[in-house]
Symmetry: none
Subunit: 408 residues, 2 copies
């Protein structure tokens, strides 16, 4: 029988969009590792009626309810009173919690404000866990095999209490196989074309395959608890879609390229125009990039393309800055200037201005130059300025991976 | 009477913690601007039973329900069938949507896979909105003054459909006083130092002041619906903290710099090392950057600093690549090479490797060179590789703003 786990996050800032709910993604990851994936998450306002309604609905539907937020020294009274009332308990004073709170303030060389006394009030029959990262204790209530937890919303306090207490309680209450996740990264195909390729695939009932569209590419994520089945599905996808696969799990385009270049002992430099430095930024996101990456020339203006890369004025005039011809001269130019094995380049129109009927916004040209020859490409990306730039930079890096695998 | 707005986000990856729910924070912000703040948000699994339960609960409790996710062309997308069934509708084929989907594939020079035909199936009585950023249309159903929307989960598609259609429908259906948000961007101060500066501030009960720490700087956000009170608080903060303020609302360091340079008709180029291209990327995030920005040389290796920037071998040997001396020669070098008014530079140790006791990880040196002289600085940032790089790039841009305001 599946264990149903609901998370309730209390916080107006989450609903007003001022804070991204990273507590949910953190808890989601931890619960998956315990084999108890969250089945539902609810974000509500810091308001007694909203808390009562959500608590009532989730407690009825789920085996485990984890609530975060609304436990600070000023809010405390509301959330805890609603919880006590919902479970039919009276509040009681816990001297051992009060001592911990006082000790925490003493450690900081401060007197404990009276307002913090409310932190030691706990609904009867609840366990209270001392919070070594703050003053609000974690709360736990067990009823008929069901479990309720209330944790502070401050991430560092929530994480501490979950790791120190909640995780073990869940492990003991439900012994589950951890969830295994495997990701296959693809590119150069649409979600639907890939789906057609994989339409013959048999997916066991206990295994899930999720399609995660990224900007300009698709990730396939396999998960479940049966490792053998997961590996088999992984191999089958790999066999059917190998031409589109560029990496696995935590790989990024830049990390795969770096691995390949270090293995082959090759050096690389880039010449960028429309991406404005993003190619270099992505490549150097990976520690150790300096072992192969000499640098990048962001030649945003035409004079710079000529003076620092040696692109011919004639080429710029005849074919334009956004052309395969210019891209190739940029790639060859940076290869020579930086004295590296491979020069790569990208030039395009990121928009919103600058497009024409012949070269619409999104038109991007690429060049790769190595000792063994050159490669070039032209494509049109859709999206806004940011999307076009991201797709262009990743496309260049992924094309380079493919070129090296094929040619070098 | 308050309008109750529920958001339902469908996606196993959100519950498994693999994706942070940025759709919620984006929608939350937009809804607040419309004066219709989200009252509840629910994240559920991509599973018919879960979708039906959430839809039933939220439709009963709320006036507006916005559902995202589960609308892609692949097999696991069962959302539309559940929606049609819940509202008691039959699915019908909409040729105009099918034409748009085919046109989108044709634009990319691809044949439309048959599987995409399902995208043109829409529950009867629903409005369907063409999606210019993808293939899944947005859906809308009106019933007794209540509104239901279903949008794809891909952020760029969701944002497009909300901005193009949903926002106007909501504005017309409920005319609300919008929540006014004003943001003041500060830097070069800690949160606590700023708090001390502002300790005398009187904040009216109906207005909220939120402290939003960014990577290496602090944003102050004022919000409420009384414009007069908001403006007064805004002016008071401005008066108390003016020395730390660099921008307002949607400003970025790069947009403020661009505005300043265009106003003064100055051109600029950059030489970057540890930031790997991030400075150029940030500057060119702003459309129109080509009107002042010539380019950036990412000289990740020392030979490139010498050959393309003219940094002296002696300087690199004596002072090291990460030094004020090298930073200044980089700034002067790129100013000369790119023939611009202002050259700016950054060189540092982003880590995790490469630190020493004399120059720990996080050490960053900056240079600015103009016709009126030079400016340089050295600082040590804390954080991981990504944090150090972000802080270094923004620090250089913000220092350049200050330099231009002071000197040029």
């Amino acid at each position: 029988m599946d264990v149903k786990v609901s998370i309730i996050n209390i916080g107006n800032e989450l609903l007003l969009g001022q804070t991204v709910n990273t507590n949910l993604s953190w808890l989601g990851t931890e619960l998956a590792f315990l084999g108890l994936p969250a089945t539902k998450a609810v974000t509500i306002q810091d308001d007694p009626e909203a808390i009562r309604t959500a608590l009532s609905q989730e407690w009825q539907q789920s085996d485990v309810v984890i609530m975060t937020g609304g436990l600070g020294p000023t809010k405390d009274d509301i959330t805890k009173a609603v919880i006590a009332d919902f479970f039919g308990k009276e509040m009681e004073f816990r001297p051992e919690i009060w001592e911990k709170v006082q000790a925490m303030f003493a450690f900081r060389g401060m007197a404990t404000p009276e307002i913090n006394k409310s932190q030691a009030m706990v609904p009867g029959g609840f366990e209270a866990f001392a919070n070594a990262r703050g003053t609000a204790p974690g709360l736990c209530f067990k009823d008929n095999g069901k479990l309720f937890f209330a944790l502070p919303g401050v991430p560092v306090e929530m994480k501490y209490l979950f790791g120190e207490y909640i995780s073990d309680i869940l492990k003991k209450a439900f012994s589950r196989k951890p969830i295994i996740l495997k990701t296959i990264h693809t590119w150069n195909t649409s979600e639907s074309a890939l789906a057609e390729k994989l339409s013959e695939l048999r997916i066991p009932d206990e295994i899930k395959l999720a399609w995660l569209p990224q900007t300009g590419r698709v990730d396939l994520r396999i998960y479940g608890s049966n490792e053998w089945q997961i590996n088999e599905l992984h191999d089958n996808i790999q066999a059917l879609a190998s031409e589109y696969v560029w990496g696995y799990d935590g790989d990024t385009p830049a990390s795969v390229l770096q691995h390949l270049l270090l293995e082959k002992e090759l050096t690389l430099a880039a010449a960028e125009s429309c991406t404005g430095g993003l190619v270099g930024k992505l490549l150097t996101d990976v520690p150790g990039a300096s072992n192969y990456f000499a640098g990048s020339l962001v030649s945003y203006s035409n004079p710079l393309k000529q003076s620092m890369l040696g692109v011919k004025g004639e080429t710029l005039e005849k074919s334009g800055a956004v052309s395969i011809e210019t891209a190739l001269e940029m790639a060859e130019g940076i290869r020579k200037e930086a004295k590296v094995d491979i020069g790569i380049s990208v030039t395009g129109i990121a928009g919103p201005e600058g497009g024409s009927s012949e070269k619409p916004v999104g038109t991007v040209c690429f060049g790769i130059a190595s000792g063994k020859g050159t490669y070039s490409g032209k494509t049109v990306f859709t999206g806004d300025r940011n999307g076009i730039r991201t797709k262009a930079a990743e496309y260049l890096i992924l094309s380079t991976i493919e070129y090296i695998r094929r040619e070098l």
